[in-house]
């Protein structure tokens, strides 16, 4: 260290924002690593676009082989794009607080005067924006490769459904992040366990109307299920005939899910923080 520049006396006292300014600063700062990470680690193009495209292609070829209606090809491409969000929520949202703890960041997040909700929101927004690029890439590539035709009825409703589905989905991810932190080392196994069943019951590659009503209703707890169903109804001609519920009803349920998950995330996070501080789990392995 250079002694000649050691003095910090010439630096003024540090002004510090509080309240909503601090909240917004925290959200942006925590979103930053996710956004910049995408730019620096180009390997995602292979792992997050090329590999999911293989799954999409497999379903497309199956549907073509059995001469399914052409809109089914579009269903698969849209579903394939949306899997990117599910994987992001599962691996980069739900498990994230656990990884932050292992890395030593969680203690620093909690010790700072910011809100942990702002940290989670930053993680969610950063993940959402970064994943939107991946989803768009899959959608554009899939649409071009398999010549998907879209017939968008209402852009307004489409955007609203997408935003509501994302809000509810990432709200669920924020809630799961607190749960996974309490479950500690089992988080990894739970993520593994949840990945494939959700592919199935959310109808990523087929309309959930194919399920029994009660199975489809239960699957609707996962926001992507209804989001995907409503989006398919809004962008494909045969969509409404294959939809599970009407679009307005699905929008209403998505609004309710947004509220439940976001409020739940807030309370669960506060509970987790209290419990972790009481039991000493923020920085240590489970005792």
């Amino acid at each position: 260290m250079e002694n000649k520049t050691l003095s910090m006396e010439n630096l003024p006292r540090v002004p510090k924002n509080t309240g909503w300014r601090l909240f917004i600063q925290t959200v942006i700062a925590r979103a930053y690593p996710r956004l910049i990470g995408q730019q620096r680690e180009k390997s995602w193009m292979f792992f997050d676009i090329f590999l999911p495209m293989m799954g999409v292609a497999a379903y497309v070829f199956v549907y073509r082989a059995i001469q399914a209606p052409e809109d089914y090809i579009g269903f698969v491409v849209v579903g394939g794009a949306m899997t990117a969000f599910w994987l992001n929520v599962l691996w980069s949202m739900s498990s994230q607080l656990y990884w932050e703890k292992e890395q030593g960041n969680l203690a620093l997040f909690i010790m700072a005067p910011n809100s942990m909700m702002a940290i989670l929101l930053g993680m969610a927004l950063g993940g959402m924006v970064a994943t939107t690029l991946r989803a768009l890439a899959i959608m554009i590539l899939g649409s071009l490769m398999f010549q998907v035709h879209y017939a968008v009825g209402s852009f307004g409703q489409l955007v609203m459904v997408f935003l509501l589905a994302m809000t509810a989905l990432y709200g669920m991810g924020m809630m799961a992040a607190s749960l996974f932190l309490l479950l500690s080392r089992e988080a990894w196994h739970i993520s593994n366990l949840a990945q494939e069943p959700v592919y199935l019951i959310s109808g990523f590659y087929f309309p959930i109307k194919s399920f029994n009503f009660w199975v489809a209703a239960a699957a609707s707890v996962i926001p992507l299920t209804l989001g995907l169903d409503a989006m398919r109804q809004l962008v494909f001609l045969s969509g409404p005939s294959l939809g599970f519920l009407s679009v307005p009803l699905e929008i209403g349920i998505l609004v309710a899910l947004c509220i439940v998950f976001l409020v739940g995330a807030r309370y669960l996070l506060a509970y987790m923080e209290r419990l972790a501080i009481r039991e000493g789990r923020l920085t240590e392995s489970r005792r």
Binding site: N3, L6, V14, P33, M111, P113, L282, R287
Partner: protein, 334 residues
């Protein structure tokens, strides 16, 4: 009096879960700790690994709840008013790997500055200045994953000082650093406190020299209890009447330190086996007691390789209080 840190009977018990059928066991990490640290003080917590230093720091930084007692930092209760405490503190731990490897040093520091609400232009100016202070300006745009342990620790130190806290906690800040880097970090820490009397710094260390060189006052802690608390000079003054000898001898070949401990005039003995020889440290009531020690060695064919009379150090104070050296305590803990 207005203390920067004040604890009253702070205790912390961890419940350790056993098997499915066994009852959880209790581990007392802290036992009725009373400390008063004045504003502007550089205060040291000195003790072996597992003594309770880090547990106490976690309580004071609101990361861990105490099982009993009260603690205030910067005038605010750590349990009832954690938000007010958090706005006034920061912490750096030795060997921490915080931040994100994908981000550059500057980006990581900027991110953490935002969590404290520092406006970006101010944060950037402070980051630039502090990186120059620690000699890391050339690596500002390097990914933090590319930094060596020493450089990463310097980045962590900038993170801690960047927010200009009222009370800064440094938990083993020189852990893993080489001798030169440790000296630089110590110099920087001392200067930071000296520059502004409103700044308070609590440092934990198990390096005696570090505590001796840096701290205005030191609390010696072992097994969750504070055994003594005073300035390093005053602590060492307690041993001015004794004679302290350090002997390098041939291996003891099964002879226990009890053979020396029972001699008249021998207060404490520590034994540290080395590669091919052993180091014995004696705290004697008076110099004459050394003759009996040498006689025991001669009778057991132990050769004296080196003999040195020492000035008392904090290590000797620790031995005097605990009956074992820190190294011995850590070994027995393992």
């Amino acid at each position: 009096m207005d203390f920067a840190i004040h604890t009253q009977n702070i205790g912390r018990i961890y419940k350790i879960r056993g098997g499915k059928k066994s009852e959880p066991k209790e581990l007392v990490a802290l036992h009725d700790v009373d400390l008063q640290v004045q504003r502007g003080e550089l205060f040291g917590l000195l003790g072996p690994n597992g003594a309770g230093k880090t547990t106490l720091i976690k309580i004071l930084t609101t990361l861990l709840g105490p099982s009993s007692g009260l603690a205030t930092v910067a005038g605010f209760d750590v349990v009832k008013e954690p938000e007010k405490v958090r706005a006034r503190i920061n912490m750096v731990s030795g060997g921490e790997s915080s931040g994100y490897g994908l981000l550059t040093v500057r980006e990581n520091l900027w991110m953490f500055s935002q969590f404290y609400g520092i406006p970006t232009p101010v944060a950037n100016a402070r980051i630039k200045h502090l990186l120059e202070v620690v000699g890391l300006q050339d690596r500002a745009n390097a990914k933090s994953s590319d930094l060596s342990t020493g450089l990463r620790q310097k980045m962590n130190i900038v993170r801690g000082f960047m927010t200009d806290p009222d009370v800064l906690f440094l938990d083993e800040p020189t852990l893993g650093l080489d001798v030169g880097a440790s000296r630089e970090v110590r110099h920087f820490i001392r200067s930071w406190v000296d520059e502004n009397p409103s700044r308070t710094l609590l440092l934990t260390t198990h390096y005696m020299v570090e505590a001796d060189e840096l701290c205005d006052r030191v609390a010696i802690i072992n097994q969750g209890r504070v055994l003594a608390c005073d300035s390093p000079t005053n602590l060492k003054r307690h041993l001015q009447q004794e004679a302290i000898f350090r002997l390098e001898v041939s291996p003891l070949n099964g002879l226990g330190v009890e053979a020396f401990q029972n001699l008249t005039g021998v207060h404490k003995v520590t034994h540290s086996p080395q590669d091919g020889f052993a180091v014995l440290q004696f705290i004697l009531a008076e110099e004459q007691a050394l003759a009996a020690v040498v006689n025991v060695m001669a009778a057991n064919n132990i050769r004296i390789l080196n003999l040195q009379k020492c000035e008392p150090t904090l290590e000797d104070v620790f031995v005097y209080l605990v009956g074992q050296s820190m190294e011995e305590v850590e070994r027995s803990g393992e």
